[in-house]
Subunit: 402 residues, 2 copies
């Protein structure tokens, strides 16, 4: 009988699936690690402002959940989500103009897992996903794992250019249209009302589902409110929603609002992935919603982020050199900077980190790895003081290289 | 401009990936739905006894977590898990005889997601997974989604028959050896010490990882404690662990203990699947562990389940007809019944449900869909009274068909 040689196993000889072996680790999460070093002013994350978490109300919801539901809060539950949370999510969607029944809802482990369920359900190797150019890096990570290709559509200040959408649909016959239609991550751009209608018309004509990834839609602090793609398009649209940006991301609770015939596919996929979303946080969020706490909280977020956005834009105006442009988002957490073509945001990041400021360069958001002169700035997470100081330092750095 | 026809979308025309379209919904979860009807005595689930959840201590841990860590408990966190939980999991493993460092640990959304990460990392379509016959249905669901085939190994009362393991390794060159070595789900069988060594020897010789799915190992209430495969095999073994059976499944917190060179693959896979496991429950469990509450709780579980197992076996002795056999597990939650060959546990289930008793028939646990005359009985979740009454009813039913 052999005593195993504990430290003499050559795991290099183990058969790792090529798809996972080739998969790049999220550059974004690597940058986040660096930028969380002490003393670094970070515009890199997509984190809500931690000082705004409604901890007292969360605590009340938690206590209520334990008191009312006891052991149910920590027992196994249904793959689709706890019935009372699905019900209130459906009701709230209906109240806001999207006719929704409980059967349209599946609770997920955040928006990221909602995307995973979509990737597993719709993407087979080599198929095209139509998306914005640039697009959300977390979606690319999912679709890459399912070996998608991309039909990436140019944007202007009103979102995807519809002629280009139709051209790419005809050329690539994509399996899905993926969009972040409100205050897009990374650019902050919002799809105009006219284009919403036009996009839905194309989706209906070509029988392709629209995936509307909408984590930021409720955080509008300027301009006119627009109906969601889901409220206009009904069953033509699958809405990806989450509590991460409007309440707290650590709960990992999101949901999909989808045609009821599609929900069983997501359910099957989720059974294998994690059986169900953690029960306790579903109850906590249910109690928080029932107490009517979310809307006033979102108003606070809007007020806070609005001031931070204005401050960041004013500071960019003052300190960024000529030849740089940036978006003016009417909501959300991010704005997008384009440096002059010859300046590489990626190459300059280490120098920025030396100056104790971090951002995310644009490259990972482009399916083709372009966008070398672009960067994403988060304005929700930093203090006013740090916004001014950080943007000033970046302005100095870029001025030296233009 | 078109107003979308909200209820006129033909989702049948949407391109669903064949792998998800063909995937069967978990039969087990369907049976659980039926068996949770009021008045039904259920031996179907794998649920811990809810009256044993340590709710007061969980509440204390929750309050402590919020008090000490505030907003961190609901903020984004690292894909690998919160550092303090990984640290204590590594320390506890080391204390119990498995040298482990923080780098060996990734926190997962329960054992099910740990299996998902393993499926994604090791299984490519058409490859073989070596497993027990029968094996855990949740693992089959994962591996099926990655289009695995199975090299299923016969068991006796000491677990997998080692000669058959080697033969099947030679024949099928499996990508991994999957085992539930302690109080197996579904059979309750435990791999003997001698075979643990032999299995590791084979894994080392043929350079195949052993996946030891070990949710029940700590719940031994009879017989002699055995060293885990991981403690014997070190880096030859990836241990799948979870708090679901020893604390509460609704937290969806499990972990993998794996060679440090393999952890980055799991991390990449998890990034795409859900970014990270929910933060709050990781903190709660950390506080619960630090307070030293888990071990005494497990002692309570053992005492309770031991009595229930004994009672179920005594009642089986009394009421089940000749020609039926069952296992005598020394721990865990399940025992396994074989009816005479010509009796179908699947066909009789509706009649059992009519008599208000539910079980899980064996078929879904067999990769080849055999095992028609077998069934799994859970003894942890029912009351003493219901164990006696339920087994009596089943005994009557089967007596009529033998």
């Amino acid at each position: 009988m052999v005593v195993a040689q504990k430290n003499n196993v050559n795991t290099d000889r183990w058969p790792i699936a090529p798809a996972i072996k080739g998969l790049k680790s999220s550059i974004l999460r690597e940058i986040l690690k660096t930028s969380s070093q002490p003393g670094v002013i970070s515009f890199a994350g997509g984190l809500p402002a931690p000082e705004l978490f409604p901890l007292d109300d969360i605590k009340v919801a938690m206590d209520e959940a334990m008191r009312k539901y006891g052991g149910d809060t920590v027992q196994y539950s249904l793959t689709l989500g706890i019935p009372m949370l699905r019900r209130i999510l459906a009701e709230r969607a209906a109240e806001k103009g999207t006719p929704t029944k409980v059967d349209n809802i599946i609770v997920t482990a955040g928006g990221q897992q909602a995307l995973e369920l979509i990737g597993r359900t719709f993407v087979t190797p080599g198929q095209y996903v139509l998306c914005e150019y640039p697009t959300y890096v977390g979606a690319l990570q999912v679709f890459n794992a399912y070996q998608a290709r991309y039909a990436a559509v140019e944007m202007d200040h009103d979102g995807m250019i519809i002629d280009d959408v139709e051209e790419k649909i005809k050329k690539y016959r994509p399996t899905a249209i993926y969009t972040v239609s409100n205050f897009q991550n990374p650019t902050g751009i919002t799809l105009s009302l006219e284009r919403r209608h036009a996009l839905i018309e194309l989706a209906l004509r070509y029988e392709i589902p629209i995936i509307d990834d909408n984590p930021y839609g409720d955080i509008r602090f300027a301009g006119e409110s627009l109906p969601t793609l889901k409220s206009i398009g009904g069953d033509a649209v699958i809405a990806v929603r989450t509590f991460s940006k409007v309440l707290a991301p650590g709960f990992r609770v999101g949901w999909l609002n989808a045609p009821k015939d599609i929900i069983p596919y997501f359910e099957k996929a989720k059974q294998a992935i994690d059986l169900h979303t953690n029960t306790l946080n579903q109850y906590i969020i249910h109690e928080y919603l029932v107490a009517g706490k979310l809307e006033p909280h979102i108003e606070k977020l809007k007020a806070d982020y609005s001031v931070k956005r204005d401050l960041m834009i004013r500071t960019l105006d003052e300190f960024f050199p000529d030849g740089c442009t940036w978006t003016h988002p009417e909501g959300g957490l991010f704005l997008w900077v384009e440096l002059p073509k010859h300046v590489s945001a990626k190459e300059l990041l280490p120098q920025a980190i030396e100056k104790k400021v971090a951002y995310v360069y644009g490259e990972p958001f482009f399916p083709d790895g372009s966008g070398d002169n672009t960067m994403r700035l988060n304005f929700s997470n930093a203090t006013h003081e740090n916004i001014v100081e950080g943007i000033k330092r970046l302005g100095q750095l870029f001025s030296e290289h233009i």
